[in-house]
Symmetry: C3
C-alpha cells in the first residue's frame, strides 16, 4: 500500500498547509543545497498576521505557545514545499531549532516546541523523528512568541 | 561577460574585506565539510576591536545595529575565504543566523539583520539569496550588539 | 602507529562517556544525513539529573559553567555514538553552537564554551578543530545553565 500523500495526511490531521510564508525582511523562505533544505526562521503567522505574540509564561499560555509552534511548523513545511516542489520529496526531518520568547523563570521551552515536534511525528511517522534544540530568548521579531527553523533531507 | 570577481564587487560597493577574524576563544573561524562551509559566530570587530557594543534599542541605535551587521558579515566572508581560498568559489549563500543583543521590548531584529542580508544580495546577486533566522538575546560575547554565522555552498 | 581509540582517549583524559542522553521531549538525540550528524540540544545532565542549573554570572560560577559545558559535550558525543556506532567514525567536528543561561551583564559566554571546545581538541586533536558560536540567553530548558549542539562529519 503506497504511503498517503503528505498533504493529504496534514489535512486528515485537521491542519491546513498555508501559502509559502512571506519573509518579513530581505531573505527567502528556504534554500536547497545538495540533499538538504534549510528554512528561514518561521513565526506563528496566519494569513500575514501573528496569531500569538508576547512572552510565553506571561502574555501567552503554555497551551497557546504549543499552538503557535504548530502554526510555525506548518509555515516551515510550506517553505520547504516551495523549494522542493512536493512534501513527499522529504526523506527525513533532520533538525528543528526552536526559540521561545520567554518570561523570566519560564523554563518549559521543550513543552512549547513539542507542538511542532509531535506534529512532525504525526505527519511523517518515523521519517519525522528529528534532532531538536529548544532555547529561551528575551525578544523575538515582531514580538512573536515562538520562532523555529527546520533542516530536512530531500530526494533529488 | 564574466562575472566581476567578488572581492572587486565588495570594493566597488565601498566595503573592504578584512583579514580573517581572530577567534575570541578555542575554535577556528570556519570549517568546510563536503560542499558546505560553516562559519563561527562573527562579531562586529574592526581590527580586533568591537565597533559597536551594547543593546540595540538602548545603547545602540537601529542604524548602528545595521552597520554592525554589515561588519560582522564581512568578517564572515573573510572567514569563508580563509577555508575556500577564494570568494568566487561560493555557489550560493545557504543560511544566515543572526543574534541581536536586544533591549527589553526591541523587536526589530529583522531590520538589524537586513544590514547583512542586503549586503549579501548586493555582493552575490541571485546567489546571495539566503534563508535567515533573526533572534533577540539578552547578552552576547564581549557585549557585542550583534553576532551572526553563515552557511554557504562552495564548488570543489 | 594507529590512532588511539577515541573512547580510550576520553577515559585517559579522566572523563567517562555517558549513556545516550534521554531527550526531555518528543525528539531523538541525533540524526545522520549524508556524512553529517546533527545532535539535539545537550544539557549538563548526569544520570538523568541536571548537574548545574541557574544563570552563569549569578547562580553558577564561571568555573562551574565550564564544567557544565564539558558534561554537555560528553552527552553530545554519546548521542553521536548512538547514530554513528563508533566515535572513531568522526572525520572532523564541524560546528559547535552553545547557549549560556546568562545573568544580566555576563558576557563571558566564550570562556564557558571553552569547556566544550578545549575538550574536543584534547579528544580529537586536529580533527576536533571546529567553528563555534556562543550566545547568551535569558532562559534555558529546566533552568539548565548551558545547552549546546554539535555537527560532525562522519565516514560511511
Amino acid at each position: 500500500m503506497p504511503r498517503m500523500k503528505i498533504e493529504t495526511k496534514i489535512k486528515e490531521l485537521g491542519f491546513t498547509l498555508p501559502d509559502v510564508p512571506k519573509p518579513v525582511a530581505s531573505y527567502i523562505p528556504a534554500v536547497k543545497t545538495g540533499n538538504l533544505v534549510f528554512t528561514a526562521g518561521m513565526l506563528p503567522m496566519v494569513k500575514g498576521k501573528l496569531a500569538y505574540n508576547g512572552k510565553v509564561g506571561a502574555d501567552v499560555s503554555l497551551e497557546d505557545g504549543v499552538k503557535a509552534a504548530e502554526i510555525s511548523l506548518l509555515n516551515g513545511l510550506a517553505a520547504i514545499k516551495g523549494v522542493a516542489g512536493d512534501l513527499d520529496k522529504i526523506v527525513k526531518v533532520v533538525k528543528l531549532s526552536g526559540y521561545v520568547n520567554s518570561a523570566s523563570c519560564f523554563t518549559d521551552q521543550p513543552k512549547v516546541l513539542n507542538g511542532a515536534s509531535e506534529l512532525l511525528l504525526k505527519i511523517f511517522g518515523d521519517a519525522g523523528k528529528h534532532a531538536r534544540i529548544a532555547i529561551g530568548v528575551n525578544e523575538l521579531p515582531l514580538n512573536a512568541c515562538v520562532e523555529l527553523d527546520i533542516i530536512v533531507e530531500v530526494k533529488e
